[in-house]
Amino acid sequence: MPLRVVLIGGVALILAGLVYVLSQSGYEQTGSDSVKPETFAVVLPAGGTVCQGPDVVAAKTGRVNMLIGSYGKPGPPLRLVLRQSRVGVVAAGGLAPGWKEGAVSIPLAKPLKTIAAPQLCLSNRGASRVALGGVHASTPGSPTRLNGKVVPERLSLIYTEKDKRSGWSRLGDLASRVGDAHGVGGWVFWAAIVLSALAAVGTVVVLARTPRES
């Protein structure tokens, strides 16, 4: 009897946990520049602009996430522009004054319709400086410019979709990415789920039957 309670309770808790996790909404990541926000790498003065790129930005990108410090004050107004050579502005957005420092998500007015390779420029339109997370890279020819001057730093940029989605609605995208990463189709993700479920069911069956067999 106690074993049965453990098995039924365990299965119920695992299923409940999975439903809970998949019901959580989040911004689907569309890409990043693979730079860790190790430190506040660039200080952007009032009225200043920092640009980085060109870098590939995926379709559906609707937000740019950065680590930004405002020295304990409410954040100044920020303007973000993604501009591609020979195309022009492919997306733009920004933040009104008063945002809170830390991990900051800057929404774009409209998500990117197709994949692009724009230069990203962030302008500080307020009266106080901000510090931007990234790394002090020492590689020559860095594509980062502060007020037009090349600097060796790199900003940490994470791109996400504009609106939150639940885990359920993201399963198809996840399958496609798992398939891409393995160099095969999305079937590999569903196969993994089936195998994992088989292992779990087999375990419960073995545990439920063993005491009777003894």
Binding site: V5, V35, H182, L195
Partner: protein
């Protein structure tokens, strides 16, 4: 030829397994579950995101292409592997939790370009951190590499090598099941509890999802524990002695770490010989068979390494022994380092791990509960605390069982000592290697990882089974079931965490 075990024991040993038919069906089921679980992991984990999978694949590729094992000096992986890693965005993903693996049309184009280019599959004789390992596991891998039926690109061959890991995991769990059966012959219900707890140990499952020599090492140690248990429970014969020697030799030809279990194996053979001392023929044939089975393969390996391959016979040990000239190892510091690796620091000790509050917790416990990838993501802290409560309950039950059933343990304490020696041997080996590696590192980098404890998986499974046995069938089955279900939950949510980390 079979000698009588002189001690009294809890129950008669089950008949020795003579082949597949002697193994209970439930043992095969546990092994199958372990294989399916490892395969599931292998499908979730992106290529090369199991620690050192890049290096182990490089070794197999080199051996498969050239027919000989790689050796130093460092020259990097093959261009084929490097270009594939580049297309996958591998180096920008590891260690960077913000970065996801490369996916999408651009990545697919790059990967196809790499596959069309047919870059060289042979490096200039190096496989990074795996180069020092002996070649047995890689030789098996090289056969699979050569016959992989889905193509000759890196990503065509990798899944088959990962499937080999799943088979090794299944065999490890099978040996663990049989080991527990030897220890607790009268408690059939407890056998699958220990085996399934081992099968779903989350880091074991994760490592079994990748190309990693540790999977073969874990199988060898599980096989050695089984061979030792059979020898000690049923008496020394030439076959049993040979089994102990052969499995130990196989382990030594897989990874030098196996040397950690040599003292336990030697003591087990000597103990079995002492018990059979009245039958001189049995003693001589058993000890002799063990020595021959160990010595012949090792001597052949030494001969090939020196005479044919021209590579060091114990490269890993040589590398560990070579410390920087300015950093002389000293015994006192080594002992303090070993102590602090697992136990709380005492007042008079220098802090050997200034970057951690307590390595036994930060490095090993939290690591075993579930630290995945190239050690860059894990469960929230509270999960480790919950698991600690459950682990403490199992250990307390097992200890109380040993104390309460000490009458049944009479004559078996020496066997118990053999397993304690196996544990201490591994802990000592890890901490000696860790201390030497830290001396070599200019920044005092910590070399140890929780997965280095996985060779003790059979003993972990036995601990769960003994803890369950101590509480009796009704409550013991519930406790064992709780451990298995908790391990299953860690596995499933570890896989969710993995999908979120790399693809979310």
């Amino acid at each position: 030829m079979t000698t009588t075990v002189r001690d009294s024991s809890a129950a008669a040993a089950p008949p020795a397994p003579r082949g597949p038919r002697g193994i209970p069906r439930v043992a095969w089921l546990c092994a199958l579950i372990a294989a399916v679980n490892a395969l599931a992991w292998s499908f979730f984990i992106p290529p090369f995101h199991v620690p050192d999978e890049t290096a182990h694949f490089a070794y197999i590729q080199y051996l498969g292409e050239k027919g000989t094992a790689p050796k130093h000096p460092f020259a990097g992986f093959s261009r084929d592997e490097n270009q594939t890693l580049g297309a996958l965005g591998f180096y920008t993903t590891i260690g960077n939790r913000n970065a996801r693996v490369a996916t999408g049309p651009l990545m697919r184009q790059q990967l196809a370009k790499v596959e069309r280019a047919h870059y060289s599959r042979v490096s200039r004789s190096d496989a990074g951190s795996a180069t020092n390992n002996p070649p047995l596991y890689y030789a098996v891998g090289a056969v699979i590499y050569d016959i992989a039926p889905t193509g000759d690109a890196v990503l065509d061959r990798l899944p088959w090598l990962r499937a080999l890991s799943a088979l090794l995991a299944a065999a490890t769990v099978l040996c663990t099941f049989l080991f527990i059966r030897e220890l607790l012959p009268g408690s059939r219900w407890a056998w699958p509890l220990g085996a399934l707890a081992a099968a779903f140990q989350p880091v074991f499952g994760f490592i079994a999802g990748g190309v990693q020599v540790d999977n073969a090492l874990d199988l060898c140690t599980a096989g050695l524990m089984l061979a030792i248990a059979i020898t000690l429970r049923r008496g020394l014969t030439w076959k049993r002695g040979a089994a102990v020697g052969l499995v130990l030799a196989a382990g030594l030809l897989v990874k030098t770490t196996m040397i950690a279990f040599a003292p336990a194996a030697a003591v087990a053979i000597l103990l079995a010989a002492w018990r059979a001392r009245e039958d001189r023929r049995a003693v001589l044939s058993g000890v002799g068979a063990a020595a021959v089975a160990l010595g012949v393969p090792v001597l052949i390996f030494v001969g090939l390494s020196k005479g044919v391959w021209h590579r060091p016979i114990a490269g890993a040990a040589d590398a560990i022994a070579a410390t920087r000239t300015a950093a002389t190892p000293n015994l006192r510091e080594q002992l303090v380092y070993s102590w602090q690796s697992f136990l709380p620091r005492l007042g008079f000790m220098k802090n050997e791990f200034p970057t951690m509050s307590y390595p036994g917790w930060d490095l090993y416990w939290r690591g075993l509960v579930g630290r995945f990838g190239w050690l860059d993501y894990d469960f929230p802290l509270w999960v480790s605390w919950v698991c600690l409560g459950l682990g403490a309950t199992v250990v307390a039950a097992a200890v109380s069982g040993l104390v309460r059933l000490r009458g049944l343990m009479r004559g078996r304490w020496a066997e118990f000592g053999v397993y304690v020696l196996a544990v201490l041997g591994l802990l000592a080996t890890i901490t000696v290697a860790g201390y030497r590696a830290r001396l070599q590192s200019p920044i005092g980098q910590i070399f140890e990882q929780a997965r280095y404890l996985l060779p003790l998986l059979p003993i972990y499974g036995a601990l769960v089974a003994v803890g369950a046995r101590a509480l009796g069938r009704r409550w013991g089955a519930a406790l064992g079931g709780l451990v298995v279900m908790a391990s299953l939950a860690l596995t499933i949510f570890g896989q969710v965490l993995t999908v979120s980390r790399y693809y979310g």
